[in-house]
């Protein structure tokens, strides 16, 4: 059988090249054994066998004597190897294509596993001494890495893929093919493969296409190709051996972390602020100057681009968030981003605050004053500072609100966390206004970040600012100067649930059926209550622990009660599953241990 012959030849070559070691020979023996075992009972050459043949016929050089081996091989064995390899490859290709026609995925999977195994075994035979050359091992490895999962192409469509590699080929000629005889029928795959292999910078030898062609031509008649070239081409095409360099994301240390590609587009702060300005001018801004927000601005701006939650929250409820977020932000501007909720909150606060700052309403001025105060106190990022300043610059000169805002800000200043801020403000607010109005507002403020936390939002581009409308936080407006109040009544309803509309849309999307408007409204109401409840719980949990800040422990307790975190599933597991890498490193203390972070933070 050809296999045995090839095996014998290999061993001969090896001994002749004086490059065999016990390991290599053992590997060869193992391979032969494996081949014998793996032959399909019906005798039809499987992918494995073909691949084995290929590997067998490849030059089994060992690292021990790279110089001698390399010296011997090119001149002496090249043609022979090529021929054998070509036939082996062809057979392999044919079989694979044949197999594919009959049992596509299995073949692919088998081929892959086989290749993996083969590669592993190859490593014994072809040691690092061949680094400079295109070894079958590296080629196959690249194939495995770069070939698409399901690349089964019927023979008819084989033509196109074949052409593609040809186009690619000339551009990537430099791969060293000397010893590599992976002669795929169309040559393109090997050609393109080489460049991929050499991508790391090992383009030492030129691709001797002519040599390949010769080998293939010679081997063609020998190969037992049941189907003609089309099969080979189909095989290659189905192999889809683009042989592009395997993607090595530089920043990702572990491949497992490369999850879904970020679908979010970074928020253009300038455009966003502009939008906010426009909308604020269009609608009456809410006067919740009280809340001081945002010392968190700096963090907000920083997180702007990275936080997926910021967009929907910001876009949808920038106005509504303002008061709430201000509460939250006042509570925890200085809070490190240890807590996801905090981050989101900060983000929420940041934007609304800036937006509110931009608005011409006087009520916001106090807000921005508060923001600037807080920002100065707890400046975290320089960028946010600039934003704050911008906001202040844009702001009008409603001094009355400033006083109010200042008083509230001072009140809020004492508080440390979002809940904390909410509580004093809520209590003070309650004194001034009906508690009923205050509580929903409080609740609605925290829901913002909770929403982001609870619902793993896919990033959707922020809806137009028009959605925001004027701020619905009526209760907050109670304290505002009367003139802002007068302009408020109309937008009252809309903005209050503007943020929820995003979630309602998500809901309707997942429902896969058209939904009535009333149903959507109901959903919004339910979501609202749900988030209020959630935030109240968080608040209570924090107070229960004698704290004024909501910390991740509180959130974990909440999730435990929800049943999301159990004894089997810990919070970190959920964080790993659902949050992007940036938050993982913030939330999980050791997620980044031992890694270098670029850019240095």
């Amino acid at each position: 059988m050809g296999l045995c012959d090839r095996l014998a030849r290999i061993s001969l070559n090896a001994t002749g090249g004086n490059a065999t070691t016990a390991a290599a020979q053992a590997a060869l023996g193992r391979m032969a054994e494996a081949m014998a075992h793996r032959n399909t009972p019906d005798g039809e050459p499987t992918t494995r066998t073909l691949l084995r043949r290929v590997l067998d016929t490849a030059d089994p050089r060992t690292p021990q004597r790279p110089g001698s081996a390399r010296a011997c091989s090119p001149s002496v064995h090249s043609s022979q190897r090529r021929r054998s390899l070509g036939s082996a490859q062809r057979a392999l290709l044919e079989t694979t294509s044949y197999k594919r026609l009959s049992n596509q995925t299995k073949a692919t999977a088998r081929r892959r596993s086989y290749r993996a195994r083969a590669i592993g075994q190859w490593s014994h035979v072809q040691a690092s001494g061949h680094l400079e050359e295109q070894t079958p091992r590296t080629l196959l490895k690249n194939i495995l890495l770069t070939a698409p999962e399901s690349s089964i192409v019927m023979p008819e469509s084989a033509v196109q893929p074949v052409q593609e590699p040809q186009v690619v080929q000339p551009s990537r000629r430099e791969s060293s093919r000397g010893s590599l005889e992976l002669q795929f029928p169309e040559f393109e795959p090997p050609v393109t493969l080489a460049p991929g292999l050499l991508a790391p910078g090992r383009r030492k030898q030129r691709l001797r296409l002519s040599v390949f062609q010769q080998g293939v031509d010679q081997d063609l008649p020998l190969s037992q190709e049941p189907h003609g070239n089309t099969d080979a081409s189909s095989f290659t095409s189905s192999l889809n051996l683009t042989f592009a360099t395997p993607l090595q994301p530089q920043s990702v240390q572990r491949p497992g972390l490369a999850r879904r590609p970020p679908t979010r587009r970074p928020v253009d702060v300038g455009a966003f602020l502009q939008d906010l300005r426009d909308t604020s001018q269009a609608s009456v801004p809410l006067g919740d100057s009280h809340r001081t927000p945002v010392a968190t601005l700096p963090t907000d701006t920083v997180l702007e681009d990275t936080q997926p939650f910021s967009h929907p929250l910001v876009s949808h409820r920038t106005w509504s968030n303002v008061p709430e977020l201000q509460n939250n932000s006042s509570g925890k501007p200085a809070q490190s981003l240890a807590g996801r909720a905090e981050e989101v909150n900060v983000l929420d606060v940041g934007f609304p605050n800036t937006s509110s700052g931009i608005s011409g309403e006087g009520g916001l001025e106090s807000l921005e004053v508060g923001i600037s105060e807080k920002a100065e106190e707890r400046m975290e990022e320089g960028l946010s500072v600039s934003e704050v300043k911008e906001a202040t610059g844009v702001q009008g000169s409603a001094r009355e609100e400033e006083h109010e805002g200042h008083t509230e800000i001072t009140e809020a200043e004492g508080s440390q966390g979002a809940i904390e801020a909410m509580e004093p403000e809520g209590s003070s607010r309650d004194e001034d206004t009906s508690s009923g109005t205050a509580s929903p507002e409080l609740a609605s403020s925290t829901p913002e970040f909770l929403r982001a936390r609870q619902l793993h939002l896919e990033l959707s581009p922020p809806t137009s600012a028009a959605d925001l409308g004027s701020e619905p936080l009526e209760p907050l407006s109670v304290r505002l100067p009367p003139r802002s109040r007068t302009a408020r009544p109309r937008p009252r309803q809309d903005p209050y649930k503007a943020g929820l509309s995003h979630y309602a849309k998500l809901f309707s999307f997942y429902a896969k059926m058209p939904m009535e408007k009333k149903a959507l409204e109901m959903v919004e109401k339910c979501l609202d209550k749900y988030f209020q409840h959630l935030c109240d719980d968080l608040e209570v949990f924090a107070a229960h622990a004698g704290r004024k800040t909501v910390r991740p422990e509180d959130l974990e307790l909440l999730m435990r009660r929800q049943g999301l975190v159990t004894d089997q599933v810990s919070l970190y597991v959920l964080v790993e599953r659902h949050l992007p890498l940036e938050y993982r490193q913030l939330l999980i203390p050791c997620a980044f241990s031992g890694n270098s972070v670029f850019p240095a933070q």
């Binding site: 229960h544 622990a545 509180d554 307790l557 009660r561």
Partner: protein
Amino acid sequence: MEGDEADEQQQFSYRQRLKAAVHYTVGCLCEEVASDKEMQFSKQTIAAISEVTFRQCELFAKDLEMFARHAKRSTINTEDVKLLARRSNSLLKFITEKNEEITQFNLEQKAKKKKKLEDGNKNSREAAEAGTEESET
């Protein structure tokens, strides 16, 4: 292995006994309500209520333990109970009132004890002083 099985059986029988106790209590309460509202309770209803109560008690226990641990305590407090009952307003009110009653009662008890102690101390002090005086003199 056999020990585990025996334990399991013991636990199971224990649970059954508890469930039976709960069932009995629920039945009594339902009878009261039935006589009050002049409505009858079917057996299935009572059984359902008792089953739900039993399961809810388990959840309560877990939650209470979580709350206590969250507050970095190893003992379950009235605070934990109040946190647990915050959902239903009436229940929360009831529990808070009861809590206040209890605390007041405790305070009174403490006051009484203190008085007794003080009296005792005074007496002993006087006795001691008297004793010292006597000894000195």
